[in-house]
Amino acid sequence: MGLVFKTETFRDDFTFSNSPASIRRFPFPFDRDAYAYSVNIEPHTKGAPGSVFEFPIDVDEHYVAEMHDRALVLKADPLRCQSLPHMITAEWDLVELLMTSMAEAYPEHFTLTRDGDAWHWINRPLGIDDRFTFGDTATLPLPPMEYITRQCQGDFSLLDQRDNNLWMDAGIVTTQADWSLDFDIGMNFMEWHGPVPLAHEAGVFDRALKFLLNLQLGRPVRRLNWTMTINPRLDTSPENYHKWGTDRTTVTTENVGDKVHLRVELQALWRLPRSNAIVFSIRCYLIKLSELVTSPKWARRLHRVLKSLPPELIDYKGLTRYHPQTVEWLSKFDDGAPTSPGIGPD
């Protein structure tokens, strides 16, 4: 397959954009015209060829640029990657999951050769060629989780399971939508879901936790989550609020299409074999609205969804400042025609 990695930025001059092919495969998250809260968890099984669900770990045209951005974030703030000592087995589990999956899905870019514990990993897009002993941290240039997640798009957290709860005891989080690993590390499932409005009353988190505690080997699950971001900024962390918070005030009716981005997270959860921990991956996809409206169905539907959003969610997702301009701009693309079922473009 012809993956061509783009040179682009997610900060300063914001040169990030999606190719037409990348727009078509964007994981548009709304399957109906009005907003409805749902946990919408489904098995993380092989999806349609070319879609973001085709492989367990999706690599796309933004790979190299995203990895470069991650390195910049870590350089400025090493606390974006942390792991408590008891998570080392889970870190190695993650190395295995990501390397085997990437090598199998994209053999022209990644190669893994295993001879017992002697592993050889080649990452051509990033120019990496390393031999190491699986399980022996001293043989890698970085701790195992950091080593491999600097080579894989998306944030990752490793959840330890004990006392009938899940604990966020390790992770690398550099593209977060306004949450902080440094703040959440060591917290349990209920604690880190503390601030979501409406969902607690519905008992959503109790059910989700019970479901995840019984998550099985060989049966990963996924869901899509969304928010919006001004400018194609991957790192919208609370630590850097001073850098991006004011972006929200810069949206005008004229620049909505270029500035406002739909931000979709493909969240996936896997049970890990050796550690019995769970890996929670959060892969972020960005699309500016002027790209999104090239699909008439998505344009209509996003307009209707945003219009029907309850005020507490507008607030929670941080859309308050630019919600009216965005809805107004999108209304130009909504002719009132019906939308087809499913999330794909027409």
Binding site: T89, N214, P273, N276
Partner: protein, 320 residues
Amino acid sequence: MSGGAELRVKIAEIEPVATDVRRFRFVAADGGALPLFSGGAHVVVGMEAGDRRIRNAYSLMGSPFDESSYQVSVLKTRDSRGGSVFLHERVAVGDTLVISHPVNLFPVDRRARKHLFIAGGIGITPFLAMAEQLSEEGARFELHYAMRARDCGAYAEEAARLYGGRVHLYCSAEGRRLPVDALLANQPLGTHLYVCGPERMIEGVIGAARDAGWPEENLHAERFQAPPAGEPFRARLARSGISIDVGPHQSLLEALEAAGIDAPYLCRGGACGQCETAIVSCDGTLVHNDHYLTPEERAGAAKIMTCVSRLAGRELVLDL
């Protein structure tokens, strides 16, 4: 969603290891690698016994790092509902079986400074995998293994040979009893306790640990239980309109499955919570045999764990 992803395995070896205990070694039917697992995990083994489909959970006891085979131990129980007798008498090397992916409801707590394992009888099996894993990882553990007589103590010698001074054996026929209080009183801070064995033993050891002031988070027990027999009753499924009879030696879950319903489960032993089902009404008294529902939930009589619990009475109406 029912029990989960399945694996086809072939029986590669059957070996008697103690009175009424046999060890089975499974390899992947297609000759490939089996998924890795973590110490304390179990698999559910499916058995086609005549017109019945029996599914029993067994702890994986081999090395978690061995992708070439899985090992389980099966104790032939006198009041068996068919599973252990089936495996003892009706299968042979070369036969294939369908098993679940490994599920771990009894994992080690990796923050522990030391792991203290207490096993009774066949309860030794999960600890063999845990000990192997911890010994590989260089963690500190001790295994205390109580058995009735030497010939009942499967794996006693094997464990002693593998882990030397970390293994302590207590054989009641020889007058050696497990010194529970002394053991619990003399552990370094940060020790985690794991117990697996007969229910009475689990209760005794966990109770003693609580009395000795151990924090609740440091206490772990494998509380699987085979579905107890009871009076027959009828279950009506409110949504699908089906009525089924639950026999005296059949669990409610098995009766649902026999009626073609893809009911959820993971442990089939009252421990994981996966089979929780809402009750619409019940004519009789619920017999809760699980370790999952809280006392308040039991009193509320709105939920039942179909894998082990039943009704003493006429009819149970389920929201299914």
